[in-house]
Symmetry: C2
Subunit: 192 residues, 2 copies
């Protein structure tokens, strides 16, 4: 018999994927349970707050995984410009490997559900804040003032988010590549 | 009696607003007709392709209006840095006036519906391309090479899109303001 924690985790994994690719409202309860192989009706057993709770937890899971990846990439990079290049390369790889379905893991839900649900909005805000915090900490660790690191982290995050949105919609990496080139030059200038 | 074209236009206006604020899937057929004061069932009379056709046309309408505004702002600006400042000020005004409901008019639909519908995706791609074209033409007219104007237009568009996404989700203009400061400096450097 499958343990309760396994089923719950599988439902979360499935939800994170469905919310990333198609958003909150396009994803139905049946799809959320059956796509993960869980019995119909088990959603409320594992997530008493229903789809809204599942979405908030899925956004938190996706945010954490992306944050872990970001920390690993930046930690291995010889300099900030290379670190951001490699981060964008990884995101570009997810886009092309998924036939342009997987852009930012939380942006679709942030736009299509956060305005109407406080728990989902808080999860999205926390996700973006955690990535912003990782970038700020990294840039400050490379010698920038806290204030400048914070500003630059916002620029990096915003332009990557916009680049992912445009690349996904156009099914073409060019906008993301243009963002990468610009951020590379911006970071080289900042740290020269 | 209300003329057919009036009803059709009102449905399009309503749809453009609903799709901007809540996306494609959260917007139901009943809401699309009744919110605009149209009789129920009139959607298929005016839009034989149903909700998908209405969404594609609404995205085109929103894109055109935003493009017209962008052209007017840039045309009046004394220099590119000021032009982009004023563009972002206008977008920030829409965000705050709508209690952070109205960010980019097409981003929500681009993320939550474009992957599954070719007509909607084409409308989104055309919308982004038209804004990109306006920015490119303007920057080239200010003296940049076509290639550099194209690149820089992508940077401007991507970072504004990302700034709007973050600002809307956080209900805080700070990310958009950070993008504005960065783009201002980028454009001043480019045209100095």
């Amino acid at each position: 018999m499958v343990r309760r924690t396994d089923t719950r985790q599988r439902m979360l994994d499935t939800a994170a994927d469905l919310f990333q690719t198609q958003g909150y409202h396009a994803t139905g309860l049946t799809q959320l349970t059956t796509a993960g192989g869980a019995p119909k009706g088990s959603l409320y057993f594992h997530f008493p707050g229903g789809k809204e709770q599942l979405a908030a937890e899925a956004v938190r899971l996706s945010s954490e995984r992306t944050g872990t990846l970001l920390e690993a990439i930046l930690g291995d990079a010889p300099d900030p410009a290379t670190g951001i290049d490699r981060t964008i390369d990884a995101l570009a790889g997810f886009l092309t490997a998924s036939d342009f379905q997987r852009g930012c893991p939380i942006a679709t839900v942030a736009l299509d559900a956060a305005a109407a649900s406080d728990p989902i909005r808080e999860a999205c805000v926390d996700g973006y804040s955690s990535w912003h915090g990782i970038l700020t900490g990294y840039l400050a660790g490379q010698g920038l003032s806290g204030e400048r690191a914070d500003e630059l982290a916002t620029i990096v995050l915003a332009s990557i988010e916009g680049g992912l949105l445009l690349a996904r919609t156009r099914r073409d990496l060019a906008p993301l590549r243009a963002v990468a080139t610009h951020l590379h030059a911006t970071l080289e200038r900042e740290f020269s």
